[in-house]
């Protein structure tokens, strides 16, 4: 890759680049993106709640739209949805704004020029979308992980949670316990990797398209990225919601739900045979 001729046009780095040192910490460009995200969300929340009315105006309804969409979905997930609807909504809005910040003009292009180690002149973008940094997505996934373990323990007690990890027939526990443990942790990895991979791949796609055909064609992909940014935010929030809702369900209710789902499967499975 570094030796290819398109390299001067396509600039993508897999890790966030350092802007300046802040004591022992290095302040990276994805931190600027994250700060911008929270600033934007905070400002929007402050502005909307300051002059909110019972009968919403045009702007207020626009801001209430995502809230209503998510709370509608979350409220169908479990009877105790009020406990975690705020968290899920927070996930959704944060990721949505973080993804869309990457699509603003100038975000990947305005930067500081410097001479890198190999002697080439390189540009470090000042702002990088926060969700194109694995640290950010891993942080979000960690929050989700802690929350669904917390809800699992809260719903079934520490013993009940451990019993769920051990599996159903107790003599199978030596086999099932490691598998269940791995599946819990793989959620953490898959949540963070999915978001990072999608957003970063979007950045690479856009950079490649701009290098290949600078006029008009990238606009199509920008539109596609707007859609992807929304879908990925929704997917992260929905997966976190499902994990929490399944952890939240008490043991006998999950059994009931599975029996229902199996019963509902039969007609649909039989239908194509008739058709």
């Amino acid at each position: 890759m570094p030796e290819e001729e398109g390299e001067s046009l396509i600039h993508v780095a897999i890790e966030a680049e350092e802007l300046f040192q802040l004591g022992p910490l290095s302040f990276t460009n994805s931190m600027v993106g994250a700060l911008l995200t929270s600033l934007l969300l905070g400002l929007a929340a402050w502005y909307i709640t300051r002059r909110s009315s019972l009968v919403p105006g045009r702007l207020q309804s626009a801001f209430e739209l995502p809230v209503e969409l998510m709370s509608g979905i979350v409220s169908a997930s479990s009877s105790r949805w009020r406990g975690y609807v705020g968290l899920i909504l927070g996930f959704f809005l944060t990721i949505l704004v973080a993804n869309w910040i990457g699509l603003l003009p100038g975000v990947g292009t305005i930067g500081i020029t410097h001479i890198d180690a190999s002697g080439h002149e390189a540009v470090i973008p000042i702002v990088r979308p926060a969700s194109a940094d694995l640290n950010f997505t891993l942080g979000l996934a960690l929050v989700a992980f802690v929350m669904f373990v917390y809800w699992g323990i809260k719903a079934n007690g520490p013993g009940g949670y451990l019993k769920e990890l051990l599996g159903e027939p107790l003599y199978m526990a030596p086999l099932m316990f490691p598998i269940n443990l791995i599946s819990e942790f793989s959620r953490l990895i898959s949540l963070s990797m999915r978001l990072f991979g999608n957003v970063f791949a979007g950045e690479v796609l856009l950079a490649t398209m701009i290098a290949l055909a600078p006029i008009l064609i990238p606009a199509v992909f920008l539109g596609l990225e707007v859609l992807f940014g929304f879908v990925q935010a929704l997917v992260f929030a929905l997966l976190a919601m499902t994990y929490i809702a399944t952890a939240n369900a008490e043991h006998h209710t999950t059994d009931h739900g599975e029996a229902d789902a199996a019963g509902a499967d039969h007609p649909t499975a039989a239908e194509p045979a008739h058709a």
């Binding site: 897999i14 990797m193 999915r194 991979g197 690479v204 997917v235 997966l239 649909t268």
Partner: protein, 62 residues
């Protein structure tokens, strides 16, 4: 990456075709289908993303 995209590609195709089929049979169920549909899509797509992440790591890090 190319090989890794085959599996999710097939899986996504099946998932979407079944969802559309279900939607055609019962348009009122759109709301009920939507959430499981998105989740299934996301899980199938995750495999492709793994391939992508591994290939990106090979390009940039190794």
């Amino acid at each position: 990456m190319g090989l890794g995209a085959i599996g999710p590609g097939i899986g996504l195709g099946i998932a979407v075709s079944k969802a559309m089929e279900a939607l055609g049979r019962n348009p009122e169920a759109a709301g009920a289908i939507f959430v499981p549909y998105i989740l299934g899509i996301a899980l199938a797509e995750a495999i492709g993303i793994y391939a992508l992440v591994v290939s990106l790591l090979l390009i940039f890090v190794a």
